[in-house]
């Protein structure tokens, strides 16, 4: 990790109005609609799509995906947890946010019933399992998680299986509530998953979210954080492991429009590609994309926001795109910083570790474990942490390192 490819942006602690990079179209002024027809079919050159391999979207973006399949949602009965299947007329839907791109709108237009999970009090950890529609099938899904005021809860959303899935995940945090949320992408090799996460943090509420992206052919997740009142605190951690042929894309927008709120984003990705063509016919390159937009609106005084992306390139045939973006409309901020760095696990590090007797595969494991440690350690459920740690190591072993 000695080589800094994309460079470090300067810390912007105490930044003044106008500092930082301001993109042409402000992140906050994105078009929003639940109607797929309101969006033009993207061609792939748009800012929002330019990193995504459109051909591998299986028609999610252009209307050819039928959404005829079904992705199952399983939520066990736990005390303090209410599970409802509701129609699209339910007034709670859309409370956390509505689609900002055509695939999210397509999912919204296509889902048949939404699942609303309400957490109240101090329920034990809840594992929600989503299974893909199966190979060759496509499905749309809508899931909303809600906490009542002052609830403290942990939700693990496990997503796995085959097929093509587009969905909207809404998370509505009641005032003063606290939610630990772990979302895993543990898809089979064929799977394509495009998700929009709408995260609404209530007054004095705390969100601790961890996203873990391991499986799938193409996984594109776009989380948007908004605050319903002052005092909100959101931490978004991410861990991604892109191996041969995988495209993992994370597009975050934190929209600070309320005073005294905090956001802290740290996404770490490891990449391990292989040369040439895979048996699936796909190229063996590994690709990650991280877009981190933070918008601090004029009203959002005393905001504290940090966003970091770190990528660890383990092999050749890997590409990490990383675009941090901070837009500041107020001078009154408590602190802000953004940075991105991509480093290589280089031959010198490998030589050093091996020269102490450590075999190559163990050396790689050491480095990757060390790299992901600060994210993995924050996973609140020990069994889940162990399982994901093992899953990361299995990823590492696949390409034979």
């Amino acid at each position: 990790m000695t080589e800094v490819v994309s460079g470090l942006a300067p810390e912007l602690k105490g930044a003044k109005r106008g500092q930082g990079y301001v993109p042409e179209a402000s992140a906050g002024e994105r078009f929003r609609s639940t109607d797929v027809a309101a969006f033009e079919v993207p061609g792939g050159r748009e800012e929002n799509w330019r990193f995504t391999p459109m051909k591998r979207l299986r028609g999610l973006h252009d209307g050819t995906a039928t959404f005829a399949g079904t992705a199952s949602v399983d939520v066990p009965a736990v005390e303090g947890v209410t599970i409802e299947q509701v129609g699209r007329e339910d007034p709670r839907l859309g409370e956390a946010g509505i689609p900002q791109d055509r695939i999210a709108a397509a999912a919204w237009s296509a889902f048949r019933e939404a699942t609303v999970v309400t957490l109240d009090g101090t329920p034990g950890p809840v594992t929600v399992t989503v299974d893909g529609p199966g190979a060759g099938e496509s499905a749309a899904l809508h899931l909303q998680l809600r906490t009542t005021p002052h609830t403290e809860a942990t939700v693990i959303l496990v997503q796995r299986g085959s097929g093509v899935l587009a969905d909207n995940l809404e998370v509505v945090l009641g005032d003063g509530s606290r939610l630990n949320l772990v979302v895993t992408e543990e898809w089979a090799d064929d799977a394509v998953h495009v998700a929009a996460h709408h995260l609404l943090v209530g007054r004095d509420a705390t969100l601790r979210a961890i996203s873990v992206a391991l499986g799938g052919d193409l996984v594109r997740v776009s989380p948007t954080v908004r605050y319903a009142g002052p005092g909100g605190d959101a931490e978004l951690l991410g861990l991604g492991f892109a191996d041969a042929g995988q495209h993992l894309e994370q597009r975050l927008l934190v929209d600070h429009a309320t005073p005294n709120c905090k956001s802290n984003v740290l996404y770490k990705n490891a990449l391990q590609g292989v040369k040439g063509t895979l048996t699936s016919g796909r190229q063996g390159d590994a690709h990650t994309v991280w877009i981190g937009d933070v918008l601090i609106r004029a009203a959002a005084e005393n905001t504290e926001t940090f966003e970091f992306n770190r990528n660890l390139v383990l092999t050749e045939h890997a590409r990490a795109d990383s675009v941090p973006n901070l837009e500041i409309e107020t001078g009154e901020i408590a602190g802000a910083g953004h940075a991105s760095a991509t480093g290589r696990f280089d031959d010198e590090q490998l030589f050093y570790l091996q020269s102490r007797g450590i075999p190559e595969d163990v050396a790689r494991r050491l480095v990757v474990r060390g790299f992901f440690g600060e994210v993995l350690h924050k996973i609140p459920v020990p069994e889940l942490r162990d399982r994901l740690e093992a899953a990361v190591e299995a990823e590492l072993a696949i390409a034979g390192a």
Partner: protein
Amino acid sequence: MSTLEIKDLHASVTTADDGLKEILRGVDLTVRAGETHAIMGPNGSGKSTLAYAIAGHPKYQITSGEVLLDGESVLEMTVDERARAGLFLAMQYPVEVPGVSMANFLRSAATAVRGEAPKLRTWVKEVKGAMNDLDIDPAFADRSVNEGFSGGEKKRHEVLQLALLKPKIAVLDETDSGLDVDALRVVSEGVNRYREGGETGVLLITHYTRILQHIKPDHVHVFSAGRIVESGGPELADDLEKNGYERFVKAAAV
């Protein structure tokens, strides 16, 4: 009792433009257990290249010659196999490995070299003791390997690894440079503890005779233009200190 034999070793480095540049031009040297050999020579003469070639750094290609540890060729071995066979290189520029704690690294190395994970309780004691011997603050155990360490701290940690891994033959590449007087003493004592039993051999690369006051060599070699051009006893070091390398460098150029 171990022996490291280097026979007519030629090595080249792969340069940026993909060419090969010969650095080692026929090195002959035998280091036996119980012996300490010092190698002195001007900058760029190939001392570090010799050290790296023995350890198996991928940047260097051995074009001819042999390196044998107890009669077995190490050149066919991978870098980690050489270390497990009993070779150790304290590097001139130890590498930073962000994200991997020193504690984790040391334990992984000890596990690999000893063939089994050391028992946790005795291990913790062992590491603490070894760190204490080298005046290393225990807080370093939680820091990433060499990351942000000062030059002197890095060198101490190289000797810490020497103490814990107990190799048969140790190559120390300028372990003394960048050390203040006190650190030099502490580090030298560390090396001397390692030599104590007389069952290990040391190849010490240095520019300065001051470390040789602490670590007394049995043999001193002058290295120039990729080979040993003169060998002698400890008195040779004093000669070098007084008169410099010049006469050897000239001789080598002929």
